[in-house]
């Protein structure tokens, strides 16, 4: 079974899982925050934020990758700052791949959470406030549980995107086996070579299987959440 894929390919699988996992983990809280801001607050620059969130969708991935490189590379303003102050480095590392995936999936994460947020009945949040819950507690005990469907959807989309992101990743952190060569990069490599299709297909199948498992799991969780809540 193990020699079904080459060791380098297994490495790509391992890396993809890691990248997808961390991309999801980090974009989740930020996505919820941005979605909340967009859905609930009226502030100057709201539309600008909204457009910014959608940028990775509008621009070709190469451009996004290039901009990430410019900003988060070792010599980029943000990258340099993070590196020297916090020792966080994205350049040519899997962390950069995770960043690229997270950024590319961000519009979906935000949209999904926002849709759920806008469907939350504000009267329930009011009820919580009259019972003594401050805004943050209302959010944690009422809003957050009620937007679980959106969070699950956003998580799944981000995870899937993390498994599949190619253009921004290769532009930002290039293709370094064992470091940044995720499954899509490996597949791409195989497709660039005449006759590489069969191996590419195997890798794609594995990737799909993983994402499908995550998908089925998410459906189970979502169904459970829905069943628990029923209708009030």
């Amino acid at each position: 079974m193990l020699d079904w894929l080459s060791p380098a390919e297994w490495e790509a699988v391992r890396l993809s899982l890691r990248v997808a996992f961390w991309a999801t983990l980090f974009s989740l809280p930020l996505g919820i925050f941005v979605a909340y801001a967009l859905a609930r607050w009226r502030f100057a620059g709201r539309e600008l934020l909204n457009v910014t969130v959608h940028l990775p969708l509008i621009m070709p991935p190469v451009v996004t990758g290039y901009l990430l490189l410019v900003a988060f590379g070792a010599r980029g303003p943000v990258g340099g700052f993070l590196e020297s102050w916090f020792g966080i480095s994205f350049a040519f590392r899997w962390t950069g791949a995770a960043l690229a995936s997270g950024v590319m999936a961000f519009p979906f994460m935000v949209r999904a959470v926002r849709l759920s947020l806008e469907a939350v009945d504000p009267r329930l949040e009011q009820a919580a406030a009259t019972l003594g819950a401050s805004r943050i507690w209302v959010f944690l005990t009422v809003t957050l549980p009620l937007i679980l469907p959106g969070i699950i959807a956003g998580t799944v989309l981000t995870f899937a995107k993390g498994m599949g992101e190619f253009g921004a990743t290769i532009t930002f952190v290039s293709n370094i086996p064992g470091q940044t060569q995720t499954i899509p990069l490996a597949i791409n490599l195989l497709l660039e070579t005449p006759g590489g299709e069969a191996r590419a297909a195997r890798l794609a199948a594995l990737s799909i299987a993983i994402a499908a498992a995550a998908l089925v799991l998410s459906e189970l969780i979502a169904r459970r959440v829905a069943a628990r809540m029923g209708r009030a």
Binding site: R123, W137, A232
Partner: protein, 383 residues
């Protein structure tokens, strides 16, 4: 604690412009559908920020638009029973009930959970979620949730509307206890004359966003003109001491020296009760009648005759038990030649004193005294 409310707010074509005082006890907001009751309650709860207004609860200013004070809902320490439940669908009944307690100050005096659960008959529902409850069950859980949040002010918007009579009869004494013993001020919206009569310390009558009458319950109930439900709901509240429980299931009360028979009452002998006697349940006779099935016959002197718009007249009497009201036809008043000073007998059927109308304790009426409300027998009407 006195709650004073002054609000001005516009909602589309609806203009609210209300000012009233809710002295300690239970204040009923009374008015037709759409008259602005829920709007007022929402403003007190901080869920609606009025265009202009001032709300002061005791020494705490909850809102003062002039001074820019707008206390957030969660700092107002309320127990709001909403007109439409608003249970948290993702929490079990148990968690819904516990919700308010999480946020209450640790040492705030709080109700006993098991007692409330038992009272509301929701013990078997604790592990369900609101989605699997009937309409009345939801409403009962909502009541429990508000009561268990250790509130310093209770807002109840038609809390019992969805409940059957038997359940109402079980829950009403609880509100009385809150009012009298725990001394939590209560703002209570209701369309039910029974609830109003039984619970109200003060009544605020609303119409189209304005307060058309307000005053102590005893007086407001005696004046059919101010009560939007009409004459049927006039009545007097008398105080009586439990004298004796008879073997045949009757309880004998002592109302200023006269015996008054009621179906068995729970209170032990010696307790003082508040009994509402509806004006339309009283028959007047010139001579003391004999051979009647009615057990309660009180002598009295006519004080006042107040003809209504229809064929009826309200007769106010002074009896040993206190002031009583009788609603009779003008035709009868003439036939009996009633006028102030006439000696009459008031006939009250034992069973016409409804179980719901027997209130525990006299605090409700007594408390109406020292709060600046007019006490001269007429109700206070603003402007």
């Amino acid at each position: 604690m006195t709650l004073s409310v002054r609000l001005r707010h516009r909602l589309g074509a609806f203009a609210l412009d209300a000012e009233f005082m809710a002295p300690p006890g239970l204040t009923v907001l009374f008015g037709r559908s759409g008259s602005g009751k829920t709007t007022i309650v929402n403003a007190v709860a901080g869920l609606l920020m009025p265009d202009e207004g001032r709300i002061v609860a005791g020494d705490r200013t909850l809102l003062d638009t002039k001074r820019g004070i707008r206390l957030k809902s969660h700092r107002r320490r309320l127990g709001y029973i909403f007109q439409e439940g608003r249970l948290f669908p993702h929490l079990t009944v148990r968690q819904n009930l516990a919700y308010g307690a999480w946020f209450a100050p640790r040492h705030a005096p709080r109700e006993n959970r098991d007692r409330v659960v038992e009272l509301l008959g929701i013990g078997s529902l604790l592990d369900r979620r609101p989605g699997a409850l009937s309409g009345g069950e939801k409403q009962r859980v909502a009541i429990g949730r508000a009561l268990l949040s250790a509130p310093r002010l209770i807002l109840a918007d038609e809390p019992l509307a969805a409940l059957d009579e038997a359940r109402k009869a079980e829950i009403l004494p609880y509100f009385e206890r809150l009012r009298d013993e725990v001394s939590i001020p209560i703002l209570y919206v209701s369309h039910s004359a029974t609830e109003v009569a039984r619970l109200a310390t003060t009544i605020v009558a609303l119409d189209a966003g304005r307060v058309v009458a307000q005053g102590p319950a005893a007086e407001m109930l005696a004046d059919p003109a101010v009560l939007p439900t009409g004459a049927r709901e006039a009545g007097a509240v008398v105080q009586a001491r439990v004298a004796h429980h008879h073997a045949d299931g009757l309880t004998e009360l002592d109302a200023g020296g006269t015996p008054l028979f009621l179906p068995r009452v729970g209170a032990p002998p010696g307790d003082t009760l508040r009994v509402r006697i509806s004006a339309h349940d009283v028959i007047l006779a010139r001579q003391r009648p004999d051979g009647l099935s009615a057990l309660n016959i009180l002598p009295g002197v006519v004080q006042e005759l107040r003809p209504g718009a229809g064929p009826g007249t309200i007769v106010a009497l002074e009896t040993p038990a206190g002031r009583l009201l009788a609603r009779i036809t003008r035709r009868s008043a003439e036939a009996l030649r009633l006028e102030p000073g006439s000696q009459v007998h008031a006939i009250i059927k034992t069973v016409s004193v409804a179980p719901l109308d027997i209130g525990g304790g006299g605090a409700g009426v007594e408390a109406a005294g020292p709060n600046g409300m007019s006490h001269d027998g007429t109700s206070v009407r603003p402007r």
